[in-house]
Subunit: 293 residues, 2 copies
């Protein structure tokens, strides 16, 4: 199947940046904005996406639909796309690129196949591709994952893993466990250090003994608060993934607690655009959290 027309649901922070690269790769990019937030509508306009309005219209127009959304909404989107495929009789390919567990990916696969569509399991590793430096990797797997090789762009690298649904989600879960799990842990201990009155001694010790790791954590924490609400369902998917393997869920249940706590603060309620403008350091963020801001 030749892919010319790609749908993106929905063009939020990551989806919008990816849509831009898809257009540069020579593809026509569409979305369905019926019922979406004003911010998402503005991001879609800024990216120059064509609005199909409804999901039915989107699956009728596109050979490939990409789901890039809050992982808590991944199955809802898959269900909507499956319903639209059934209603229109259109047999498009649907790639779930969200941070969900292999089991959630298999659940989405079943819905899409039952509707007659092709399902591709996927996961995005790396930042939204806004500048030339950003080169996110799209890991994909499943019997139809090869279709994604038609996306060719130097700042959007497609990596076909295997023919097995779940592999792409699995690698994403483990990678996100490392990065976002470590960030949650670092937030907790830096907040604790400030509450205990030993923040400066700890920072000095961390800078002396593990400056590279500390710098990495600070960089991650600086931009985290506006994403915290999305990372709650992502941590829940990781807890689910590891729990199903017989490993402890509690590290990631705790990370869920941390991101849930951050999401409720003033910092957590900013938009990514507001947070970028404020230009806080990681320590500015953890101090704000410790001091109840």
């Amino acid at each position: 199947m030749q892919i010319r027309n790609v749908g993106v649901v929905s063009p939020g922070d990551m989806g919008q940046a990816i849509s831009g690269r898809l257009k540069e790769a020579g593809l026509n990019v569409y979305t369905a904005l019926d019922g979406r937030s004003e911010r998402t509508q503005a991001l879609a306009r800024a990216a120059g996406l064509t609005d199909c309005g409804s999901m039915e219209q989107l699956v009728s127009t596109c050979e490939l639909v990409l789901s890039v959304i809050n992982p808590g909404a991944a199955l809802t989107v898959a269900r909507q796309v499956a319903a639209a495929m059934k209603k229109t009789g259109r047999k498009a390919a649907f790639a779930d690129l969200n941070a969900v567990s292999p089991q959630t990916a298999r659940d989405a696969d079943r819905m899409i196949r039952e509707a007659g569509g092709l399902f591709i399991d996927g996961g995005i590793i790396g930042p939204p591709p806004r500048s030339e430096k950003d080169k996110p990797r799209l890991y994909v797997s499943g019997p139809d994952a090869y279709l994604m090789e038609q996306i060719v762009h130097p700042n959007l690298l497609v990596r076909v893993m295997s023919e097995r649904i779940g592999d792409a989600s699995g690698v994403k879960m483990c990678y996100a466990a490392m990065t976002k799990g470590t960030t949650a842990l670092a937030v907790e201990l830096l907040v604790a250090a400030r509450k205990l009155g030993v923040e400066q001694a700890l920072e000095k010790e961390l800078r002396e003994s593990r400056n590279d790791v500390f710098d990495w954590q600070m960089k991650n924490i600086a931009t985290m608060p506006p994403k915290a609400y999305r990372w709650v369902p992502e941590m829940q998917e990781i807890a689910k993934t590891f729990g199903e393997l017989g490993l402890t869920r509690r590290i990631f249940e705790g990370a869920t607690d941390i991101y849930g706590m951050v999401a409720e603060t003033a910092l957590g309620k900013e938009s990514p655009e507001q947070a970028r403008k404020a230009g806080r350091t990681g320590l500015d963020v953890t101090r704000g959290l410790a001091d109840g801001k």
Copy 2:
């Protein structure tokens, strides 16, 4: 008070290495081996420590007693030392250098002061000082912490923090949360990746995108299994510290689960000496754990 004679309870992996540096610093170093394991007795002999036999004899001989032990045994040791001080009427200084919560340090402080002794809160950051490269920091706090400044050695750095009991333990808890918490998390996700059949893709991605952090984690995991049983109570003390501040305990309860799981494996039952001899990499360890070895 001038310090010439120092007692070390007990000279295990860390205690033995510190005892060697104390001797090089010109101090007389004693221990009390009644009821200790054969391995600890052998380590004490190798370090050339003088055995006082009982705790009573140890507090009678030394101006300063250092507690360096499994954190789960810290309060037991403080209680024994307090009893020995009461019995002998000796008012020595006692430094708890274990990885315990500020509250546990305050509990030990109360026992020692009630027995007429001086209490110093402490925490050791860094590896056992065996080679010239190892320069662990002894963080100490409390009204009598300045006494520790009499320990002068280029490979055993004393850092007096404040006059407040709990500050040294607080900085140690937060630092250990970072290092040992991240190690637990990395172990879990690497074991998961192998069980999911995506280990190689994950390793490749981690090496490409965060090689410095991955190398650090691999180094930590390589030497971890023989210490896992001691890190169980250490993670519990961290969970307690953070819980008392109103922060989630679950990340560190999960880390406790991981180290408890590792401690029960064949790798976890090796001695540090056996593990050093085997010379495994971090991936050798996580593969062994995933494959049920």
